[in-house]
Symmetry: C2
Subunit: 223 residues, 2 copies
């Protein structure tokens, strides 16, 4: 086997900014933001830690790039749909993105160097609202309450990694165990009657609040 014959099967294709960023996203998805280390990403790519620095200037720059890739994945509110439909679809798309990439929740709206996909996304949302009759002040209200809710719901209500009611019950048990049984009667009732009931689905819960907010905005726009 000559060295030229092996070229096609090289297990180490050349590094590129895109490959580094993709590997980093994949690793953050499974290991979280704390687990995202330059050394681990390099290991995934079978490269030395220092090799990454040819393609990203440092860990922050890598994170900036990762976030802009995610912004590119959110459904844009384009086309002729009603603003409510467009905002609803965009909210569900963003919620799903944040569920797939939990590490990104606190990073999406705090970039000091927003990338082109980030700017393009926000430009499209604002454009959709403006052309639907929202004035600048109402755009600010709508954006603030919608994104507040979407990111906050992702942060506070989607953290439970359990699929079954049994696992849910076990977790609730662990949380209460250290404390006297009847100190928190309202909380106990709530957990028993609601959270641990089969069929609890965060998607339905998310849409309840989303529609409440969209209806409130519609009333404000008309009034």
């Amino acid at each position: 086997m000559s060295t030229t014959a092996m070229k096609d099967e090289d297990p180490r294709p050349a590094l590129s900014r895109q490959r580094v960023v993709q590997a980093a996203i994949q690793h953050a998805d499974s290991a979280g933001l704390d687990g995202l280390t330059m050394r681990k990403v390099a290991e995934m790519l079978q490269a030395a830690p220092m090799s990454l620095y040819r393609h990203v200037s440092n860990r922050d720059d890598l994170i900036d790039a990762m976030i802009d890739v995610l912004f590119g994945e959110i459904a844009l509110p384009l086309g002729s749909a009603h603003w409510k439909t467009a905002m609803r679809d965009r909210a569900l798309s963003l919620r799903d993105l944040l569920a797939r990439h939990r590490w990104a929740i606190g990073l999406m709206e705090s970039r000091r160097r927003p990338g082109p996909a980030n700017l393009r996304h926000h430009d499209a949302v604002i454009g959709k609202l403006r052309s639907a009759g929202f004035d600048v002040e109402m755009v600010a209200h709508a954006y603030s309450v919608l994104d507040g809710y979407i990111y906050g719901f992702a942060l506070t209500r989607m953290s439970i990694p359990f699929d079954t009611t049994d696992e849910m019950a076990a977790m609730a048990q662990d949380m209460f165990e250290p404390w006297p049984a009847n100190d928190y009667p309202n909380l106990a009732e709530f957990v028993t009657d609601h959270v641990m009931k089969p069929g609890y689905d965060y998607r339905e819960e998310f849409e309840y609040g989303l529609d409440l907010i969209l209806n409130g905005l519609e009333e404000a726009l008309a009034g």
Copy 2:
């Protein structure tokens, strides 16, 4: 100067769990969660890093304790006030807490070992809603949309550390600088006409969304 005479002025009072936790909160307030290291907290207390481990079992245990102190600072919805007033006051109190302790935003609702102040707080909120006529399902809806909004607003809209319009303008300038001037016309208009206008106040913006949500819940409760 005898050694006994110096006792009263000992610059290193005995360590305690409470002192460790208080120092850690103070340090996180100024240095953020990344800056919160066992070694820095020890330094603040003029102790060796390892001395902290007599009072907290590890960094996670320290954070659990810090969060429960914060829960103890939120105004509880007790007394005979209307549920809407009580929830509004509680939301403003929580928002102010999260503004003072930004490092805590992602930690408050993800504790696997909630402390007594945490449980007590949630018990009081649920109790207030239940006694106002919310059934268990409506409590879930209300809690989900309110806390989603409160934490999400804190996460996405309160991150700007600037007090003056000039600083705001400079930041916006930096963010757009790398990109072609007219690629994002809707965003440009929004930033010019709204964000950079004097008198922009996140407190007013927060209350707009909060009242929209509270009114929506009131309608759902009546309907």
